[in-house]
């Protein structure tokens, strides 16, 4: 990863900007949403591969900063929502796309099903992913 950051630095102009945009493992909440409101019914379990990837990315940026390649200018967190019509569609997606990275525990799935079943007709199930965006400037 550090080598890749060196390559990116090489192809950037002086004072060029690097935007690092990525999800952070943080036991993402599972919510039932209706209208403008949402209620948390549980959280996903971060699996070791995802946590290790997260830590490696953070270490790589720290290394690039310590080498004087980039200086951090600005950083924010925001939410990136994945939303489905039903809990079963959420489960299917996670088994297809997030296997090995995030786990939907049976107890959380059952809580989502129970809450969704008695919620308003427009209710959806969603996962709120914690996102980090950082602006770096080439030194």
């Amino acid at each position: 990863m550090v080598h890749a950051l060196g390559e990116i630095r090489r192809v950037l102009v002086p004072d060029g900007v690097l935007i690092d945009l990525r999800p952070l493992e943080a036991r993402w909440p599972v919510e039932i949403a209706s209208g403008a409101s949402s209620v948390e019914v549980g959280r996903l379990t971060d699996l070791p591969i995802a946590i290790a990837d997260d830590e490696a990315a953070t270490r790589a940026m720290q290394e690039a900063e310590s080498r004087g390649w980039f200086v951090r200018e600005r950083e924010e967190f925001f939410s990136y929502v994945y939303s489905w019509d039903t809990p079963s569609e959420m489960k299917e997606f996670m088994e297809d796309e997030w296997e090995g990275f995030e786990k939907l525990e049976d107890s959380v799935y059952q809580s989502a099903q129970s809450a969704w079943a008695v919620a308003n007709a427009d209710a959806r199930v969603q996962v709120r992913v914690k996102m980090l965006i950082t602006r770096w400037k080439k030194k």
Partner: protein, 98 residues
């Protein structure tokens, strides 16, 4: 399946708060199927987006809007050895890829 991603467009808003793409040459690292690319490419002067996953890249090529064909170049590459000259880009984006 009725998956919706980022229904409030918070990612697009964050991206445009953090970078001014006007008249900029942009390199996107790990563009995948181009989902992020289409959020900012209209504003940029030119975008070079790459990914080592050729299946994903094929989807990006198929999804690329006609209006962006001359502005967005999609290519297969690895970040370990970027096939570009020194100081070619104004902005680089690590798109969920670090």
């Amino acid at each position: 399946m009725t998956l919706q991603r980022d229904p409030q467009n918070l990612e697009r808003k964050a991206l445009h708060r953090f970078a001014d793409f006007r008249d900029k040459r942009v390199l996107e690292v790990g563009c995948g199927e181009g989902r992020l690319t289409w959020l900012y490419a209209d504003s940029a002067l030119h975008v070079t987006a790459f990914d080592p996953d050729l299946d994903a890249l094929r989807v990006a090529c198929a999804d690329r809007p006609v209006r962006l064909e001359s502005r967005v170049a999609l290519t297969g590459a690895s970040a370990r050895h970027l096939p570009f000259p020194h100081e070619k880009f104004d902005i680089a984006i690590l798109a969920w890829s670090l």
